[in-house]
């Protein structure tokens, strides 16, 4: 799926909030990352590390005005003539409390808002809404006339994601969109995201502080701290460095900790296991050899 062509490039990016005021806060100070078409990439980092600041550059909510470069789908986001509207349609951003993005009375209307604003015809809007709702597991016929605020927390998140998907983005950015959902809702959301990647070929950027979710979903991880990129590599590479992760306010999934400690005790295991199933196979080798 990945054809190596970068769709998002961030080079040595700096951003200061409330610049020039006494309340100045350094949001980013030299962040780097690159996302290629068809990839599933994770961004991890402690609260305040700069994760959200980075992803808000991806669709022009924040524009690079200081040092550094952001190229999205070939467009230099510092260029004032960039068509931000078209970028926002191609790069869909789902926020931390996605239910706060809902505002219409009926679920179907809420999901339809984006495509209507794009000026699409009713039939096409309806097709897109149907597709988006079905793919996130809110069957169109059953949910389109439900009151938005009668949905459960997990369903609200799905509705908000459907609203973004109805724009038919090429890149879907989820900023802590699975936090605070119950285990069943989280598993369903993760399965939806995987399906969007596998069946629809969407490029996925997943921001989270839940290391288990991260390990279960993404292929590659960037860790940010203090506004900078501090680690990057495959999911296995990153999570097999628990001490380094802890230095940056992060952790590894429990299972990676187990493998790491077995390795330290001298067992010949591959410590780059990130799921329980992988760990089971690795441990079985040393129990059974």
């Amino acid at each position: 799926m990945s054809d190596q062509q970068p769709v998002i490039q961030v080079n040595q990016l700096y951003h200061t909030y409330l610049r020039g005021t006494p309340f100045e806060v350094q949001g980013l100070s030299g962040a780097d990352l690159e996302i290629r078409r068809g990839e599933v990439v994770g961004i991890i980092g402690r609260t305040g590390a700069g994760k959200s600041t980075i992803v808000q550059h991806f669709n022009g909510l924040i524009r690079p005005r200081e040092r550094g470069k952001v190229i999205v789908l070939g467009q230099d986001m510092a260029d004032p003539t960039v068509n931000v509207r078209s970028i926002r349609q191609k790069v869909g951003l789902v926020f931390q409390y996605p239910e706060a993005q809902l505002f219409e009375r009926l679920v179907g209307d809420d999901v339809a808002f984006g495509p209507f604003k794009m000026g699409l015809k009713l039939d096409e809007v309806r097709d897109r809404v149907r597709w988006a709702m079905n793919i996130v597991g809110l069957p169109f016929e059953k949910f389109k006339d439900r009151f938005t605020f009668s949905l459960s927390g997990g369903e609200m998140r799905k509705a908000a994601i459907a609203g973004v998907l109805a724009l038919r983005p090429e890149i879907l950015v989820l900023d802590e969109s699975t936090s605070g959902v119950d285990p069943r809702g989280r598993k369903e959301l993760l399965a939806d995201i995987r399906k969007l990647h596998e069946e629809e070929g969407l490029t996925i950027v997943f921001v989270s502080t839940n290391m288990e979710d991260m390990a279960a979903l993404v292929d590659r991880v960037y860790a940010v701290d203090g506004g900078k990129t501090v680690m990057s590599g495959s999911t296995g590479e990153i999570f097999s460095q628990p001490e380094e992760l802890r230095r940056h306010g992060l952790g590894a999934p429990q299972i990676t900790d187990v493998m790491h400690q077995l390795k330290q005790r001298g067992f010949p295991v591959n410590e780059r296991c990130v799921t329980v199933a992988q760990a089971e196979d690795e441990v079985w080798k040393i129990l059974n050899s």
């Binding site: 980092g45 402690r46 609260t47 305040g48 931390q96 459960s152 927390g153 997990g154 802590e176 936090s179 605070g180 959902v181 119950d182 285990p183 069943r184 809702g185 989280r186 598993k187 502080t209 290391m211 288990e212 802890r246 306010g249 992060l250 952790g251 999934p253 429990q254 299972i255 900790d257 187990v258 400690q261 077995l262 005790r265 001298g266 067992f267 010949p268 329980v276 199933a277 760990a279 089971e280 441990v283 079985w284 040393i286 129990l287 059974n288 050899s289």
Partner: protein, 291 residues
């Protein structure tokens, strides 16, 4: 010992007069003793938060009674006592901070209880120390990290000398280190005798408790020690709840090798068990000796 919390046959309906009222709790019985650390798990909508809100009279039962130190939560005259006995910490830290300076926020609770000034100062100092917030006592709360904000909320509760702390998914939005900081403070308070009731979706947090309660559809469906509960992995899976990854691994290995224990909870326990089972085969140890 006298129970500190008694929930007797409690049923609760949201909008009882509506045509289709939502039954959030259904004949719930629960007794909690001083010093307990009870972790409640279950899906959204299973009734966890509704139950938590009954514990300091934010909600009153539609049927049944809730008694806090023997005081009925339905009696208005009991409210001040009940609310100073049971402190709540909610999910989103920003929604529960009222003052513009950390130490003033912590003083807010005891001030409202009419505690004398000297006593408030002493309690604020103590609460700052226990929660590790001394360095930021004069900071603006909204500029703190999520973990720090939740610790401010906890400090506010303990400054009221609450005997019970109820944490309603207080770690949901924190990063791993922030989460660990909050849990460490909660463990410390529990070791000093504070009763803890913690609601969470993170199954490994349930390992801190001496008792785990699983809720589903307004009912308590499982109740036991963490080891007892997580040993029932099949039932948990049926409820679509997680088990800690270590327990999942132990369970899978137990399926392949029945002698392998199925009820492991912590990372060190799991590493030890695997080492023990691998050792007779001469792995690990021998490799170290050869080096």
């Amino acid at each position: 010992m006298e129970p500190i919390i008694q929930v007797n046959d409690v049923t609760f309906l949201y909008n009882p007069d509506a045509p289709n009222p939502v039954q959030a709790l259904c004949d719930v019985n629960l007794t909690i003793y001083p010093g307990d650390y009870v972790v409640i798990v279950g899906h959204n909508g299973s009734g966890k938060s509704t139950l938590a809100k009954h514990l300091n009279a934010l909600l009153q039962p539609t049927k049944g009674d809730v008694l806090i130190r023997g005081l009925d939560t339905r009696v208005p005259a009991n409210l001040l006592d009940i609310r100073s006995t049971v402190g709540m910490v909610f999910q989103v830290p920003d929604n529960q901070i009222v003052a513009t300076v950390v130490q003033e926020d912590i003083a807010f609770g005891p001030e409202n209880l009419g505690v004398p000034r000297e006593e408030i100062l002493a309690r604020v100092d103590w609460a700052l120390r226990v929660t590790g917030l001394e360095a930021v006592r004069t900071h603006a709360p909204h500029l703190l990290s999520g973990g720090q904000k939740q610790r401010v909320a906890i400090a506010g509760v303990i400054a009221m000398k609450s005997a019970v702390i109820v944490l309603d998914e207080a770690t949901a939005y924190l990063d791993p280190v922030g989460r660990e900081d909050v849990l460490r403070v909660v463990r410390e308070l529990n070791s000093q005798g504070v009763t803890v009731v913690a609601i969470t979706h993170f199954m490994h947090e349930a390992l801190d408790g001496n008792r785990v309660i699983v809720m589903e559809a307004g009912k308590i469906v499982m109740d036991g020690t963490p080891r007892e509960i997580f040993a029932r992995a099949d039932e948990l899976r049926e409820l679509q709840l997680d088990v800690p990854q270590t327990t999942d691994l132990a369970y899978r290995l137990h399926q392949r090798l029945p002698a392998f224990p199925s009820d492991l909870l912590t990372v060190p326990e799991t590493v030890d068990a695997i080492s023990k089972f691998a050792q007779p085969l001469g792995l690990g140890q021998r490799k170290e000796m050869a080096v």
